[in-house]
Each structure stands twice: as structure tokens, then as C-alpha cells.
């Protein structure tokens, strides 16, 4: 579904992503694991196209020059230089790091904003689905986004992304700053979303323990390069992954 070929991203002279090749198969969950500064977020921004926006802004104020080389192919077409909004229309939806929900809009409004690309019936159906998968949101319909707890905000952010009818859902650090219980619950929800709707999901996460069991295929990034790849089972049994991410 998504294929990345020889992708390189430079921030000025520093290399953030070094020659990454990866594939995301349709209907599966793919994981990207790595420590801070491994290039996870940059990869997510590059796939969703946000990086083109950052690049433009940096150019305007004469800051860092961002260079993107290589190809990103989504469903057979090259989207490397496509605008972020066009990519969203194609079905690549990013659920951004640190959630970025609209703090002054209510929960329901946040979800409705997400449904800009959906038809009315789609939006209604998805809204009901979100309430079944994240029941807490149902009771918080009129609460302002800024007053939600971290876990509720994350549910809302995933819900908002789902409202846009994604084909490929990009989750950038969905477990950031959550309690272990909440992490387990969210990981199960993500798994359910994939099973019930068949949406292809790409998760980047540095805390691999709750996520590793639910991915079908995973990549481990280090300093911008993919150092390891394999199925969930292979990764979990790998001694390096064990020591780095499970502390065994």
C-alpha cells in the first residue's frame, strides 16, 4: 500500500533519515520503533507531507534548509511532493504527536472538524463507531478539548483522525505520557480498529512493550537508519530489541 524507497531527509547538513526503505501492507499494522532522535517523527511528517509545510516556513524565515530525496509511493502513485491536504484526500491521515487537539472546541466539535473530508452518512457512522470503541468520549461531548485528561485527549485525537475516513492511519507516538493502564487500553483499541475496520495503521512509538504484540511487521530505527525489521514475533525474540525495549 505504502512504499518508501531510498528516503533521505536532511535538516540543513544534519541527516535525519538515512536511506530508509520500507513497506506498509494494506490492512496490517506496521510499527516503527526507536529512541528519541531516531527519526520517527521526521518519517511521520515526511509520509504525511507536513514536512513540506515546515520546509516552506523555514525557507521564508531563512532558517534551516530541509532536503528531501527518494520516493514515497502510495497505491502506485508517487506522492513525495504532494501537498499535505492532497495526501489527506488520498486517505493518508496523521494523528500528530502530542495530540494537537483544538483546545477551545468541544469534543464533538473536534470530531466534526475531523470529518471535513467525509460525507454525512460516513461521518454519522464513524461517530457512532468512535463512541463504541472509546466509550468515555460519549459522556464528554460538550467538554472543551483543553479540559480533557491526557488519555481522553489521545482518544479524541485518534477519533478525529478516524473521522477523516483514513485508508492509512499514521499514529505518531500515541502512548506519549500515558499511564501503563491507559497504554494497554489504547493499544487494544488500536488493535480493534485495525481488525474491525481494516484500516492500515502505521504506528511510531518509542515505548514498544504494549505496541509490539499488536503489530504485524515492525522496523527499528536508529540514528535515522532502519537497523532491524521483522514480524512482531521476530522482533520480540531478537536479543537486541529485548534488551533495548523490554529491559530483559
Amino acid at each position: 500500500m505504502l512504499e518508501i524507497k531510498n528516503l533521505m531527509v536532511f535538516y540543513e547538513n544534519a541527516i535525519a533519515i538515512n536511506n530508509i526503505n520500507m513497506k506498509c501492507e494494506g490492512g496490517k499494522v506496521t510499527g516503527i520503533f526507536g529512541a528519541n532522535s531516531a527519526g520517527k517523527s521526521t518519517l511521520m511528517y515526511t509520509i504525511s507531507g507536513i514536512i513540506l509545510d515546515v520546509k516552506k516556513k523555514e525557507e521564508m524565515k531563512g532558517g534551516e534548509r530541509i532536503t528531501i530525496l527518494g520516493n514515497i509511493i502510495f497505491e502506485g502513485t508517487d506522492i513525495t511532493y504532494l501537498k499535505p491536504s492532497e495526501r489527506a484526500k488520498k486517505g493518508i491521515i496523521l494523528c500528530p504527536e502530542r495530540r494537537r487537539i483544538f483546545a477551545e472546541s468541544s469534543t464533538l466539535e473536534n470530531l466534526k472538524i475531523g470529518a471535513y473530508l467525509a460525507t454525512k452518512t460516513q461521518a454519522k457512522k464513524t461517530l457512532e463507531y468512535i463512541y463504541t470503541i472509546f466509550p468515555p468520549l460519549k459522556n464528554l461531548k460538550s467538554r472543551e478539548g483543553g479540559f480533557l485528561s491526557g488519555g481522553e485527549q489521545q482518544m479524541l485525537a485518534i477519533g478525529r483522525a478516524l473521522m477523516a475516513q483514513p485508508k492509512l492511519l499514521l499514529l505518531d507516538e500515541p502512548l506519549l505520557g500515558l499511564s501503563p493502564m491507559m497504554e494497554g487500553m489504547l493499544a487494544r483499541s488500536i488493535h480493534d480498529i485495525n481488525l474491525q475496520t481494516g484500516i492500515t495503521i502505521l504506528i511510531s512509538e518509542q515505548y514498544a512493550r504494549p505496541i509490539l504484540p499488536i503489530v504485524h511487521h515492525g522496523y527499528v530505527l536508529e540514528n535515522g537508519g532502519a537497523v532491524l525489521e521483522g514480524s512482531s514475533q521476530e522482533l520480540m525474540e531478537n536479543p537486541d530489541v529485548k534488551s533495548a525495549y523490554f529491559g530483559l
Binding site: 531510498n6 547538513n13 521564508m60
Partner: protein
């Protein structure tokens, strides 16, 4: 995908010049070349400013004096906006208070300009700071609005109470002996202010001020009173403006409500944007380009403002980083293509 099938790709690499790195420390003193590298841009600016009166006609010499006042205001604006995080549109208030104080001292007490200017500079800055003190807790657009209101407010107070000469202002003030004093007073002021501010922002106080701009809560958490530092910063910026105002009153021998004109609040912003925000020298150069430009465009009559605006819009759209940021980068860095 194998590397052989993909075409060779290139990217532009931007590197600091070796000499730039060498001149950042004490090592700059090791050779003439390094010292020249540091001195050339600064000497160009200083001598460019100091020698310019010799190449100008009488009319343009007057314009130069006016440009110097705008340069001081732009310098103060850039300092407050980029190093303290206060967008101050009170340039007209600084000019006005400096001008009126100096004018009153000269007219009522009969003091000579060389006494009134320093006194009006300091006293005007104190007044401006006191007036702005209650608003220092505000940030961003709110501070901008409040500081924008003060010049308007003062004009109407003067008109309503008919004090300080009312709408006619105070006339027949002492002027400077000749045009050379006019020019070198303001040029000297600009150069001293520029280099003093550049030094100031790299000292400890500059560090604190920049931190206040980035995150004032973190600064408070470090046990520093941000209000006292903001007050000092506003006082410094007001000093520049009030000096410009006091000078202006003796330049024309006249003080009036037009010295609270909004030009003094707005044009420095344009100069700062054109010259490059945050460079300090940029706004000065911007002012010395924009003021003569606006004079030169007088030939266009009413179209003058349109042409002026088009030039500004062009700058903001195509070079929003400003002239000085571009020049500095070209001077300090070089680019080359690199294959990846």
C-alpha cells in the same frame, strides 16, 4: 532498491567559512586576515555613515538627519521585539516626550541645546517607562495596542488642555550652530547606540531578556523578577527614542503635536522588517534606505505611498528574513553541491 538504478541525487550543502569559526574566539587576533574579516563589515558601516554627509547636497543632508532619528527608533523597536518580546508601537510617544521636554526646557528656562538634550533624553525615558510600567504585564498584541494608544492620548490631552502651546506648539527654539553639527550628532548617536546595544544583548542581561522572550515562566522559576528586567529594557529603548525626539526639536527649532505622529511608530517597523529582525544593524540600514526612498518617491506625487507599499510588500513576500540576515549568511557561509 539498489543504489545503481537510482539516478545520482544532489543537495546543496551550506557550510560556515573556516575563517568565521576562527574569528569567534580570541583566536581572531592571531592574524591580520582574521582581523580584517571581522573589521571590514563594521568599518564599512561606520565610515559609510560618517562620510556620507560629504557626498550629499543640502536637501539630502536634512533627509539623513531624519533617517538617523528613524534608525534610532527602529533600533529600539528591534531590541524590544526580538530580544525582550515586547512589540512596542510607542515610538511616537518616545519622540514626543523627548521633544516636548527639550523644547520646554529651552523655551521656558532658556537652557542651551547641549544641556536640554541629555536632560530631556533621560527624563523623557523615565516618563515613558513610568507610563508603560503598568502595561508591562501584557504581552504580544495587547502591549502593542496599549503602547500605540499613548501618543494619540497625549495629543488630545495637549489639545484639550491647551498646554505647551496647544495646537501651535512651541516655536523659536534654539537650533544647532550648523548642519555639520546636526548630522554628526545624530550619526554619532546611532553608531554608539548600535554598538552599545549589540554589546548589551550578549551580556548577562541580554541573556535574561532573551529568555524572557522565549519563556517568561521559566525565568520566573529561576528566581528572576521579569518586571524589573522588562522595565530596564523599556527604559533603554525609550532612551533612544527620547534622544531622537530631543534632537528633533532642536533640529527644526520647533515642537508641535505632529511629533506624536504615527509615522514614528510605524516606519521603524517597516525598517526593521526590511533590514532583518533581530540583527540590530539591519533596522539601522533599513531606516537609512527607507527614509531617503520615501523622499525620492516624492516625484510620484500621490502615487508615492503606493510605490512605497509595493516595495515593502515585495520585500515581505520574497525576502521576509530581511536584508541583513541574507547578507550575513552570504558573508559567513558558502554553498556547494554534494552528491548523496
Amino acid at each position: 532498491m539498489s543504489r545503481e538504478t537510482s539516478t545520482i541525487q544532489r543537495r546543496k550543502e551550506r557550510l560556515d567559512r573556516g575563517i568565521k569559526v576562527r574569528t569567534e574566539g580570541l583566536y581572531a587576533l592571531t592574524s591580520w586576515r582574521e582581523m580584517f574579516y571581522l573589521l571590514v563589515p563594521r568599518t564599512l558601516l561606520i565610515f559609510g555613515l560618517l562620510l556620507s554627509p560629504f557626498f550629499l547636497e543640502m536637501y539630502w543632508q536634512r533627509v539623513l538627519c531624519q533617517a538617523g532619528i528613524y534608525a534610532l527608533l527602529a533600533l529600539g523597536f528591534d531590541f524590544l521585539a526580538e530580544y525582550v518580546g515586547l512589540v512596542c508601537l510607542g515610538g511616537a510617544f518616545f519622540i514626543g516626550s523627548g521633544a516636548y521636554l527639550s523644547g520646554l526646557l529651552n523655551a521656558k528656562l532658556g537652557w542651551a541645546p547641549f544641556f536640554t538634550i541629555p536632560i530631556a533624553t533621560v527624563a523623557g525615558a523615565v516618563i515613558s517607562t513610568l507610563v508603560l510600567l503598568p502595561c508591562l504585564r501584557l504581552r504580544g498584541i495587547y502591549f502593542a495596542i496599549i503602547s500605540f494608544m499613548f501618543p494619540l492620548l497625549t495629543v488630545y490631552i495637549i489639545i484639550a488642555l491647551n498646554i505647551f502651546g496647544g495646537t501651535e506648539g512651541i516655536t523659536a527654539l534654539a537650533t544647532f550652530p550648523n548642519i555639520w553639527v546636526d548630522q554628526y550628532l545624530i550619526l554619532g548617536g546611532v553608531i554608539i547606540a548600535l554598538f552599545a546595544l549589540r554589546r548589551l544583548v550578549t551580556e548577562d542581561i541580554g541573556l535574561i531578556l532573551r529568555s524572557i522572550k522565549d519563556n517568561d515562566q521559566a525565568v520566573k522559576a529561576s528566581g528572576i523578577s521579569i518586571t524589573s528586567y522588562k522595565t530596564k529594557a523599556v527604559f533603554i529603548a525609550a532612551l533612544l527614542g527620547c534622544f531622537g525626539g530631543a534632537y528633533l526639536s532642536h533640529l527644526y527649532g520647533w515642537v508641535g503635536i505632529s511629533q506624536f505622529a504615527l509615522d514614528y511608530s510605524i516606519l521603524p517597523i517597516a525598517a526593521t522588517v526590511m533590514g532583518g529582525m533581530g540583527t540590530l544593524v539591519g533596522p539601522v540600514i533599513g531606516a537609512f534606505i527607507l527614509t531617503p526612498l520615501s523622499e525620492a518617491l516624492r516625484g510620484f506625487g500621490q502615487m508615492r505611498v503606493v510605490v512605497y507599499c509595493l516595495i515593502l510588500i515585495g520585500f515581505i513576500v520574497y525576502k521576509p528574513e530581511g536584508l541583513m540576515n541574507v547578507l550575513q549568511r552570504k558573508y559567513h557561509q558558502f554553498e556547494h553541491w554534494e552528491e548523496v
